[in-house]
């Protein structure tokens, strides 16, 4: 806000001139109710010529400069009147730390902290939240159908999760690696827990950022694998993705606790489900070990539901709902479920196909960023880069740097 007294001399004289001119103008307005209040004009905001032109062109008679100004303006009045709408929030979000350095018993050289919010996302006029949202990249332990735009970026590492993880970190800027152990699915390769755990170890050796380990969605198999993974990764404080209401969440929670990790509590888009699962997990785990995920739907395919549930969850938590005071994770990769993200469509109307997926991912992420998401699981390097830059800019308030500016419109990818 620009309230300092700059060039006050110039300003006073300008003000007098303008006040006079305005005074004349008011006279010309029929039954005008004149309520003049303190108007401050920044001298450096004004260019004399256009003002005078503008005013003169509207005024029939020459302005009488000597006329006394309209009633003196109470300069401080407005200053007192504008108060940003600051709400007091009784609640705050717990901080969940992922990864552990050598001194903490792990081998990571970097760790991240999720959550810790005391105000809604980017309500910077109410306060600053301590930890910027984190962007992670998906890595799969087996070949799965990937959109062409994504596959092209990772085709050289598709068969090696460790190499894929390295690329995600060093080339694409992943702050955390999401390793998805899809191959453990009994309907796919049914990889045994020991072999899956080996993959986890390989990835832990390949990168020095924290990792998050996901299952296949089969409640029984996931439990067995998570137990093994928790054991081999002891000390590393990995994030287990995820526990759900339909699995033996207590056993998963116990494994997570025993080996000092953290977990994502994944539910449908329902605050009640999220509360219920959290309540059950609290019997085993401290709050600081739990991240929640209330499901992400793609832009055009239910994003409005996902957005609103996350926004409501965060607001409720800040307003004091103790069962929802957790960082929120989003499977932003779900954006690719929208057919428009990858299908062949008329490019003059839908934009180039290679960019559509990243756009879908970014729009989905940006929307959820504003709802309060702390942890983004993403896929396309360009989308990751863009979202990371948005987060940097939004949280650091740094100076605009045109060098770093990604111009999607004029660039050719």
């Amino acid at each position: 806000m620009s309230g300092e007294k700059r060039g006050s001399k110039t300003r006073r004289s300008l003000e007098a001139i303008i006040a006079d001119a305005l005074n004349q103008l008011f006279k010309n307005l029929e039954d005008a109710e004149i309520e003049l209040e303190g108007v401050e004009i920044e001298a450096d905001e004004l260019e004399l010529e256009p003002i005078m032109q503008a005013i003169v062109s509207q005024i029939p008679k020459p302005v009488e400069v000597a006329k006394p100004a309209v009633k003196p303006l109470p300069e401080r009045l407005l200053e007192a009147e504008f108060t940003p709408p600051v709400t007091e929030y009784p609640g705050s979000i717990v901080e969940v730390k992922i990864g552990a350095t050598k001194s903490e018993g792990g081998t990571r050289s970097k760790t991240v902290v999720l959550g810790g919010e005391t105000v809604p996302a980017f309500y910077t006029f109410e306060g600053l939240n301590p930890n910027p949202p984190v962007v992670s990249l998906d890595v799969f332990d087996t070949r799965i159908p990937l959109a062409r735009a994504v596959r092209m970026e990772v085709k050289d590492v598709l068969d090696d999760p460790a190499e894929w993880a390295k690329k995600a970190v060093h080339k694409f800027g992943a702050e955390v690696v999401n390793l998805h152990l899809v191959s453990i699915d009994p309907l796919l390769k049914d990889t045994p827990p020991s072999e899956a755990a080996k993959t986890v170890e390989n990835v832990l050796q390949a990168v020095d950022v924290p990792i998050c380990v996901g299952g296949c969605g089969d409640p029984l198999k996931d439990l067995k694998v998570f137990e093994k993974v928790c054991e081999v990764a002891e000390g590393e404080r990995i994030l287990i993705n995820s526990v759900t209401l339909d699995m033996d969440f207590k056993k998963v929670a116990e494994a997570v606790k025993r080996h000092g990790h953290a977990v994502i509590a994944f539910t449908s888009m329902s605050m009640d489900d999220a509360r219920e699962l959290n309540r059950k997990l609290y019997e085993v785990l401290p709050k600081e070990d739990i991240v929640i995920d209330t499901t992400t739907a793609a832009l055009g395919y239910g994003l409005d539901y996902a957005f609103t549930i996350m926004e409501r969850t965060r607001l409720a938590a800040l307003m004091g709902d103790t069962e929802l005071q957790h960082p929120i994770s989003s499977g932003t990769t779900n954006a690719w479920a929208a057919r428009e993200a990858w299908m062949k469509l008329d490019e003059s109307k839908w934009g180039p196909r290679e960019l559509r997926g990243p756009i879908w991912e970014v729009v989905t992420a940006l929307t959820l960023l504003l709802a309060g998401v702390d942890y983004f699981m993403m896929m396309h390097p360009l989308a990751v880069k863009t979202v990371k830059q948005v987060i940097d800019r939004f949280t650091m308030g740094g100076v605009f740097d045109s060098e770093k500016y990604l111009n999607w419109v004029s660039s050719t990818f």
Binding site: M1, S2, G3, I18, A21, L22, L25, F26, L29, A32, E33, E35, L36, E37, V39, E40, I41, E45, P50, Q53, A54, I55, S57, Q58, E79, F82, P84, P85, F122, Y123, T124, F125, S268, G300, L303, D304, Y305, F307, T308, R312, L315, E340, E347, S348, G351, L355, R356, I359, V363, L366, L370, T386, V390, R393, F394, F400, Y405, N407, W408, V409
Partner: protein
């Protein structure tokens, strides 16, 4: 009529005291008391009572007015409504008027370029879930700094189907433009502190809404005061901020103050130019951010038209009433030109489900009958989980629509996700049930392999 913006929320009894107390029923309610209750809830328009005194009308209109004022831009068929919002979060009620996407044209463009842009704007429009998603207005900018090219631009686009935003900081140029548009109610954009009164007098003369811009809050409030002081209430705020972050913050402050603090001097719709901001966010995507955070009018450049469809889909999402899933009418739908041999498919009445399914069926060239069952607007997966897809409802729709007389066979294809109801549906309807694929894109192959074979 002057609306008393000072009016506070009143109790039904207080409202009742202002009513004629004749119980004439002209408002559509049996008693004045009933009308008073509805007024307090904001469920009925003040104008429904024809016998109100001017004072009562002013007070009541003030009370029922949404905290973000409703402003109409354009006239007649071209009119668009902006603002009129009651809440900051859609789950608290819903959003009422969709953000207007305005295409920016400037007076340095030649005629061909303008026409080309208009054509592209038209091409960007598309149908989705029975709504037309499109560009809603044109924002004309006076980049030349001269009047003649601007006037030419106004002349060129004045008969297009779009309401106009006339953007110039020069009052005499603005006057020339408004003279052409007469009573078309364009939004006059370009008022800043230094030209405020000349611009305001133009807005008064041409009875058009005016937007005001300032670099800081105090100047902005002073300017809004001025406009209101001379009786202008159709105001649009151009929020302070040079970066995307700052503008998002400003938009949030404006909405929160208007809604939570009933701070009526900022209770106006907003206009943003996301692509003019300093930001590292790619231009097309900035629109998404200001849209999520309340911007009522968003001006976009022609270069981004080809990226606009996802943004318009986001707008459609945000504007959906969160209390009522968007649904289609249950019943029998024809896809293509079905014959008595054509398959009969069943699905739920969630609009998105219906829309995607019928699109896919059409694209695959399938002729069939589609039975849409009332699940309260829930998708197949949700209605199964929530026990909202009832075999009896399937039976009822099939009987009511007389599908049995339209086809020779008795086979019903149900969605893959409804597999566990196959037995129950078979029992209820007496038809043989085939469990279809999980994905609608696989239906063609399914029909070929499973349905035709029999």
């Amino acid at each position: 009529m002057r609306v008393s913006r000072k009016a506070k929320q009143m109790s039904p009894i207080e409202v009742y005291k202002l009513l004629p107390k004749t119980n004439c029923g002209k408002c559509g309610f049996p008693t004045c008391m009933a009308f008073a209750f509805k007024l307090v809830q904001g469920a009925v328009e003040v104008d429904k009572c024809p016998y109100l005194s001017d004072e009562a009308k002013s007070l009541l209109t003030g009370m029922t007015a949404p905290p973000v004022a409703l402003v109409v831009i354009g006239r007649g068929d071209k009119a668009v409504r902006v603002g009129g919002e009651k809440v900051s979060f859609r789950h608290e009620d819903k959003f009422y008027n969709q953000p207007v996407i305005a295409l920016e044209l400037n007076d340095l463009m030649d005629m061909e370029e303008v026409k080309n842009c208009l054509k592209k704007a038209e091409e960007a429009a598309f149908e989705r879930m029975e709504q037309t998603l499109k560009v809603n207005a044109l924002a004309l900018r006076n980049l030349s700094g001269r009047a003649e090219p601007f006037v030419r631009l106004v002349e060129l686009v004045k008969d297009t189907p779009y309401p106009l935003i006339v953007s110039t900081e020069n009052p005499s140029t603005a006057m020339k433009a408004l003279n052409i548009l007469k009573d078309e109610r364009p939004l006059l954009h370009g008022a800043v502190l230094r030209n405020l009164m000349p611009m305001a007098s133009l807005a008064r003369r041409f009875k058009c809404p005016i937007s005001v811009k300032a670099a800081d809050w105090r100047t902005l409030l002073a300017a809004v005061n001025r406009l209101r002081g001379i009786g202008l209430h159709d105001i649009v705020i151009h929020p302070p901020g040079e970066t995307l972050k700052e503008v998002i913050e400003s938009l949030t402050i404006i909405r929160r103050l208007a809604v939570d603090k009933k701070f009526d001097r900022l209770g106006y719709p907003t206009i943003t130019f996301p692509e003019d901001l300093k930001s590292n966010v790619p231009e097309p995507l900035r629109t998404a951010a200001v849209m999520t955070r309340y911007s009522s009018i968003i001006v976009v450049k022609p270069e981004t038209l080809r990226f606009l469809r996802p943004v318009m889909m986001l707008r459609q999402s945000i504007m959906m009433d969160p209390r009522a899933p968007i649904s289609v009418k249950p019943g029998l739908y024809y896809v293509g030109k079905p014959t008595p041999e054509s398959p009969v498919l069943m699905t739920t009445n969630y609009a998105l489900t219906y829309y995607i399914l019928t699109e896919d069926l059409k694209n695959m060239g399938i002729d069939c009958y589609l039975i849409v069952v009332d699940t309260g607007g829930l998708s197949v997966a949700c209605s199964i989980a929530g026990d909202k897809l009832k075999p009896e409802s399937v039976k009822r729709v099939m009987e009511e629509t007389g599908i049995a007389e339209k086809v020779k066979h008795r086979t019903l294809i149900i969605p893959g996700r409804a597999a566990r109801l196959s037995g129950d549906i078979e029992d209820a309807t007496g038809w043989r049930v085939l469990v279809g694929p999980l994905r609608s894109r696989e239906i063609a192959e399914f029909i070929e392999k499973q349905f035709r074979r029999e």
